[in-house]
Symmetry: C2
Subunit: 326 residues, 2 copies
Amino acid sequence: MNYDMIRAADQRLAGYMRRTPLLTAPQLDAIAGRRVFVKAENLQHTGSFKFRGGWSAITSLSGKQREAGVVAFSSGNHAQGVAMAAAAHDVPAVIVMPADAPEAKRRNTEWLGAEVQLFDRAGEDRAAIGAKLAEERGLTLIKPFDEPQVIAGQGTTGLEIAKQAKAAGVEVADVLICCGGGGLTSGIALALEAEAPGLKPRPVEPEGFDDVKKSLEAGSIQSIEPRPGALCDAILSPSPGELTFPIMKRLCGPGIVVTEEEALKAMAVAFSHLNMVLEPGGAVGLAAALFHPDESEGGDVIVVASGGNVDPAIFSRAITEHGVAL
Amino acid sequence: MNYDMIRAADQRLAGYMRRTPLLTAPQLDAIAGRRVFVKAENLQHTGSFKFRGGWSAITSLSGKQREAGVVAFSSGNHAQGVAMAAAAHDVPAVIVMPADAPEAKRRNTEWLGAEVQLFDRAGEDRAAIGAKLAEERGLTLIKPFDEPQVIAGQGTTGLEIAKQAKAAGVEVADVLICCGGGGLTSGIALALEAEAPGLKPRPVEPEGFDDVKKSLEAGSIQSIEPRPGALCDAILSPSPGELTFPIMKRLCGPGIVVTEEEALKAMAVAFSHLNMVLEPGGAVGLAAALFHPDESEGGDVIVVASGGNVDPAIFSRAITEHGVAL
């Protein structure tokens, strides 16, 4: 897994992925006490950065693999990214999703043409289900984060951040990245190491799911015990990956943890001042910028808003209960 | 008022305005039955295209005018656009807003440093209040649409649409534009006439406020009697302008009228499939594309999503009551 693979993925994605904007608003700067730049991956195709990794992985398959099809497990963003990329290349796709995944994510995954198989998050092991399907039906498993071509695709976000930060005059800044298993974080970290060494990647996790923070502190992979019913469904992985962790250990600053309430407040701020929809798991980076300013270094901060696929009820709760008086 | 003024405004705005993206989603295409491209001016600074006109107007003032300050009347989007541009150039700004303007708009206008004066939409004449303030305090009045440098600024949206449509391979299409007094519509029309003559501007209005449609049909300026409590606060002007109407008459196709419910449904679609926040008045163009497909011509359609400044209660209503089953 290296920088050259990210450059190669960027070429495969060129013309297909959206070059998402880096947005600002003076109200965000006022709350955070410094300039805040928001990389709007919620505006990516399928509503999250996962489109990049899905496309990168699908376009790396052999002809025979494409014909047989792929399987992926995901709470919904990787699902949609893989489904859309697979459909564009006429590759059959089976997606294994938890039964409690947001309805919008499941509906869109099916709408994009994938076969969805539901499993019980509490009682069943999604990785085992995926592996079994792969074996039984000859499908290629596209893992959500611990997979080189997926990391390479997510890393293209980092290439764009490097270019956009330079254009905005930002040379030294923390880059706050919503982090589940570390695919996006490690991909961005590799891209920034090569292209913008003054930008420091910082994984951000929701309270109770701080396995990456703990792993970085311990210097080895740590696991957490997931609790059910968590809001940030996109980033609930219990531990960083075998591939992603060594990259994060080498290149990332300390992890940051935010509460679910802070994620909801960040969603309300993005609603009010960026006119954008973020999902809870896609808002933890912004929450860290806004509500944990002491944990970031440097004059500016860059936030990756990683996704915006959220059910109406949760979004309504965020904006009506957490509107910010500014 | 001509194309050269738009090019000049584009130069004054370069580096300050946001070049907003032209977005797509397969779900929108499926609803509309054709390809839909959404020009996301809700992602412009201050959350609407009005920033362009405000900046264009402020940067056209003489040194003496800047020192004395400006006055503008607006339900909130022109207000914020003028307020932000004025603040950036150290120009004092007084904004005359209706007392029933959305709270978010009033709060942001004040936050941006403008002095806000409220008036009663039913009993008082905002134009007269603005004119009186201009005279008493030596302020320059920046009218919301019937003002050459404002039209020139809004027209820069059209320059970008022409370029982005070409890049997307769109040569013949209707361009559905949320229309109040016609500043945005006439500016875009002039830009497209010069840069992309295959793109036909079409004003879109909410039911009961179809003064532009009626005027185009009659061939002369017609007025409507505004009713109170309308949702699309941004585009409730009772008649097109003396400057904007002749341009629209010469260059626009027939007007399209949508209901408030259709605007709310379009907001729900944009929430679900573009992860963006639109306000009712900024969603009528998308509503026309999605729910009035028979009224547009050509294989593709371009929508200008003109703004996204909406109070949480109305947005919640849109997404919880009008979620689209796709």
